[in-house]
């Protein structure tokens, strides 16, 4: 059976979009060690920032630029007010970030209403690619994801800050006694990861319907991508995103969307079980 090239392009787009969302999560999970259940709502906040900026008449690009800043600030506050206070209670962190997610989502409902909104892509229309028309904005998001991947790799492996961050990931205590301001690094990483989520939200907003539930839809795939990712770096996240996002869109094309979601979730449960077991074995 010949495989439609557009299908592969769709799978690639899905994987890259998921990478954009998951990379922020990977930063906070890798460095701060916190499973942030509010990550989907940070994405939501990014999308609604873009919406609010567009409604204010400033256009889409201003929203895309502003979203990471606004959401980065939100993440900074989340770290300062909630996560910092629960360092010794990891299960409570989970619960508290879930509560924070609820608060952000319901604030959005209170401000913008429960209905869904649409944002027009800044460059409408499509170009012919591999013999079929393909939406320009989707290509734009794919390019942005690649840019973020390059930026993350550069930041982590080619700068002094990246060296410090990798040191803190490898051994928090040793990094602290070596004179690194680990807490400040963590606060920075958390705000940065949140900013990436905000960027992802604003970037993907024109591709989706912007509604209060969109964060939840992204949270689980992004988590699965991060948790099944081999290693913590951008490369691992990319592999995880390719497995989860690409797999889902391929199964959706050949079978049905509902079945695809179920298959990916079930597959991830099995995979995750093995990964979690391996991690536990390493810690012992």
């Amino acid at each position: 059976m010949p495989v439609d090239p557009v299908l592969l392009l769709d799978a690639l787009a899905q994987a890259l979009t998921l990478f954009l969302v998951a990379s922020g999560l990977a930063v906070t999970f890798g460095l701060v060690g916190v499973i942030n259940l509010a990550h989907g709502e940070l994405l939501l906040a990014g999308a609604y920032t873009a919406l609010a900026v567009e409604r204010a008449g400033l256009g889409y690009w201003a929203g895309l630029a502003l979203a990471p800043l606004v959401v980065g600030l939100l993440g900074f506050l989340l770290d300062l007010l909630v996560i910092r206070r629960l360092r010794e209670r990891p299960l409570d962190t989970l619960l508290a970030t879930w509560a924070a997610a609820l608060v952000v989502r319901q604030t959005v409902v209170a401000l913008f209403g429960p209905a869904s909104h649409t944002i027009q892509p800044p460059i409408p229309g499509s170009v012919v690619l591999l013999g079929a028309p393909y939406p320009v904005h989707r290509l734009l998001v794919m390019g942005l994801a690649l840019l973020v991947a390059a930026l993350l790799a550069w930041l982590l492996f080619a700068t002094r800050l990246g060296l410090m961050i990798r040191g803190a990931i490898a051994d928090r205590t040793l990094a602290a006694v070596s004179g690194l301001a680990v807490r400040r690094l963590e606060a920075l990483a958390f705000a940065f990861g949140a900013g990436l989520a905000g960027l992802a939200g604003a970037a993907t907003a024109p591709l989706l319907s912007v509604d209060p539930q969109m964060g939840l839809g992204f949270l689980l795939p992004a988590f699965l991508a991060v948790l099944v990712a081999p290693g913590g770096g951008p490369a691992g996240t990319a592999i995880g995103a390719a497995l989860v996002g690409g797999g889902e869109s391929l199964v959706a094309a050949f079978a049905s969307p509902v079945l695809a979601q179920l298959a990916v979730l079930a597959g991830a449960v099995v995979l995750l079980r093995r990964v979690a077991g391996r991690r536990a074995g390493r810690e012992r």
């Binding site: 990891p90 989970l94 509560a99 924070a100 609820l102 948790l227 995750l272 074995g281």
Partner: protein, 323 residues
């Protein structure tokens, strides 16, 4: 907390039993429904507070219990007659079997019971809700309606539970029995084993305790109790739909237990009754603001009262006079 103080529990149940004398009948009916949520809260408190297993899918078992009651009550299952009591039995059995099956997947020694476990339960809850929505047999997103009420086989003929006061009293009896049973279980050697595994599974294993079996038993017991709550809820409500097993209700249950106190099923039950009653009073007035208030409440309780409101009180009562 290892030992539930008995006196507060008895006082609590006595006061609740006298309530229909003073309260209007609509309030009694509402409280009867809230007692079903109380069963869900107690099951979660047992699993989370005693077993250290934070579950984001406890409503899955509540919902499966409700659907089991609905399917048998409507006579939609082959070989089973349309019987409410049989439905209630299946509402206990089916969630237990499901928990055992899922437990073998989740509660194995190789999966750490920390955050990864909690995320897996979150995924399971989402899978369950999507399956229910996608299944025409379960009525899809419309659910199943027109369920028969629970009928008690009394000597003078079956007695249907339709009026608020008898329904409330039956529910009160069931819930009180479950609460006292859980208190005994927590104080028993089995309760000590569960807490030992919660504190340090590896050490418990070295002492000859099988952590997998202990966790699996706790998971199954909690599922059975949640399923019982779901079955009783369906019997009263006469209607089941996918939100009964979804993330929303699972989250609400976490709020009740966190507010009441995860350490004690009684405190969790009181938390459920408190939050649901406040929701009944303020929900309409706050409208869309209620979920926001619920989120803020959960955030504040986790940050400021990790033992919960009633849990702190009970712990104070349970503290021995001489340390």
């Amino acid at each position: 907390m290892s030992r539930e103080p008995l006196l507060p529990a008895l006082l609590f149940w006595a006061a609740l039993a006298l309530l229909p004398l003073a309260a209007p009948s609509w309030l009694t009916g509402q409280l009867a429904q809230h007692l079903c949520y109380g069963l869900l809260a107690m099951s979660l408190a047992y699993l989370w507070g005693q077993g250290g297993l934070l579950s984001f899918c406890q409503a899955l078992f509540f919902g499966v219990g409700a659907y089991a009651y609905a399917l048998v009550g409507l006579g939609k299952l082959p070989l089973l007659p349309a019987s409410p009591l049989l439905g209630l039995g299946l509402a206990l059995l089916l969630p237990t079997l499901l928990a055992l099956a899922l437990g073998l997947l989740l509660v194995t020694a190789r999966v750490p019971t920390g955050p990864a476990w909690a995320v897996l339960t979150l995924v399971l809850g989402v899978i369950g809700e999507r399956l229910a929505v996608a299944s025409p047999f379960l009525g899809g997103s419309n659910g199943l309606a027109g369920l028969p009420p629970l009928a008690l086989p009394l000597p003078g003929g079956a007695f249907e539970l339709l009026d608020p006061v008898p329904t409330f009293l039956v529910l009160l009896g069931v819930t009180a029995a479950v609460q006292l049973g859980l208190a005994l279980k927590i104080a028993s050697p089995a309760g000590s084993l569960l807490r030992a595994v919660r504190e340090d599974a590896l050490r418990a294993a070295h002492l000859g305790i099988d952590p997998v079996a202990v966790r699996l038993r706790a998971f199954a017991l909690a599922a059975a109790l949640a399923g019982l709550g779901g079955g009783l809820f369906a019997a009263q409500f006469g209607f089941v739909a996918p939100p009964l097993l979804g993330l929303g209700l699972s989250t609400e249950a976490l709020v009740w237990v966190a507010v009441g106190g995860r350490g004690s099923p009684l405190a969790a039950l009181a938390g459920a009754l408190l939050v649901k009653t406040v929701e009944g009073l303020l929900g309409e007035w706050l409208g869309a603001g209620w979920p926001l208030a619920l989120g803020l409440l959960l955030l504040l309780v986790v940050l400021l009262f990790p033992q919960g409101v009633f849990g702190g009180l009970l712990a104070r009562l349970a503290r021995p006079v001489r340390p």
